[in-house]
Amino acid sequence: MIIKIKDLYKNFGDLEVLKGINCSIKEKEVVVVIGPSGSGKSTFLRCINKLEEPTSGTIIIDGYDITDPRTDINYVRQEVGMVFQRFNLFPHKTVLENITLAPVKVRNVSQEEAEKTARELLQKVGLSDKAEAYPSQLSGGQQQRVAIARALAMRPKIMLFDEPTSALDPEMVGEVLAVMKQLAREGMTMVVVTHEMGFAREVGDRVIFMDEGRMVEEGTPEQIFNNAQNPRTQLFLSKIL
């Protein structure tokens, strides 16, 4: 198990957002998290790389207990890439610099090697010709593919995706999903929050339905989409499918 989460609670002040999450994820597993807006999906994902500090519970990533304050979180984060809904590329840096910055400054990779890796990654996401462009010169779909390349440049073992296609125009969703599908086939461990049910069916090993801070139901895509047991899951799916 590369991710082990036990009794995870997260409050924002008086608001209880995560109410006892237990969840383990195997290496190379692709887990798709679905659920209504405000159910705590983003918070759950952000706890996994400690962008949110859990209120209680334990989270063990690749053997490191990140809820232990002695754990070097900056080290563990190098193993966990994250892709955001709003891309969050660095606007003052070119595409190439966006991708090389962290490997050079954090992993101490040489500039030369980092650029070589960056160009390989750009080729992989289909943007070889955009290395010298600035993020503002790219479309949303292109920016998100750069953001994926930037995360991959750290050679993470796990990738987290928080609604990576929700901010995109419909015609750009496909190009981002294609990159994610390829990544899944190559054996990346992925936790993906998304409303793209086609993606979940095609590459998801497991689908988790979250509602009001709890994991209400989980199963294979087949089980969840065709044969959901919980009425809340059924209601949610009836609205979006």
């Binding site: 962008l51 900056n74 969050n88 660095f90 750290m154």
Partner: protein
């Protein structure tokens, strides 16, 4: 007219001194301001409190009072402390308590501008979207690296207009240094007025010299801003 021509060389020299003290004040103030601004964003409560106390004190009291406090207050304090030391049987070791006037001028101007610049930097950093620091941290950068490579370079561009404004305000406020006899433009004008009695002409000339300096400077800032916008 003759009076103006006679007084002009000295007044221009004073204007040069005003510019120098302003430039030094902005440079030292930027260093102080960066430290204080980051202190105010620190997660450590004590550090935050220190930054806030400094900024509030120097923004909340008049520069005039700060200049007096530094130039006359500090020597007064030193003298009292020294007297106390001697009264308890200590050997006297100081005779001259006064501060060098350039030192006092630079200190008061830098501390004052540092407080304003701290606020400019803080606002600049806070204007950067939260997603930027999250992206940087999610890549494994520590807080310092995220600031250094991601947040500050972006904040820098946004602080150029308010920094230009601060320079102009400060340039005008250096005229307050005339109260301690520091010979910048206003003090030089005062001295020339006392000598020639050409009160209106010389003060009007001083006003125009300040105006030319501030106007020129604000044009330079506009150009710089324009240049940085293109990339």
């Amino acid at each position: 007219m003759e009076n103006i021509l006679h007084a002009l060389p000295l007044m221009l020299e004073g204007a040069g001194i005003s510019l120098i003290i302003t430039a030094v004040g902005i440079i030292l103030g930027s260093i102080i301001g960066l430290a204080a601004g980051l202190a105010r964003l620190s997660r450590n409560k004590l550090v935050r409190l220190g930054g806030t106390a400094y900024v509030d004190f120097f923004r909340g009291s008049p520069l005039f009072v700060q200049i007096m406090l530094i130039y006359f207050g500090i020597p007064g304090l030193l003298k009292s402390l020294h007297e106390y030391w001697v009264s308890t049987g200590g050997e006297p070791f100081m005779t001259n308590f006064s501060l060098n006037i350039w030192f006092a001028a630079i200190l008061s101007i830098s501390l004052n501008s540092g407080a304003y610049i701290a606020e400019i930097f803080r606002a600049g950093v806070q204007s950067i979207e939260k997603g930027q620091i999250e992206a940087a941290r999610s890549l494994g950068m520590n807080h310092f690296q995220a600031m250094r490579y991601v947040i500050l370079p972006q904040a820098f561009k946004r602080v150029i207009p308010p920094m230009g404004n601060e320079f102009i305000m400060l340039l005008k406020e250096t005229s307050l240094l005339s109260v301690i006899g520091f010979e910048e433009l206003a003090r030089k004008t005062q001295l020339e007025v006392a000598r020639t009695y050409a009160t209106f002409e010389l003060w009007l000339t001083a006003a125009f010299i300040y105006l030319i300096m501030t106007f020129t400077f604000s044009r330079l800032v506009d150009r710089l801003e324009e240049r940085l916008k293109t990339d």
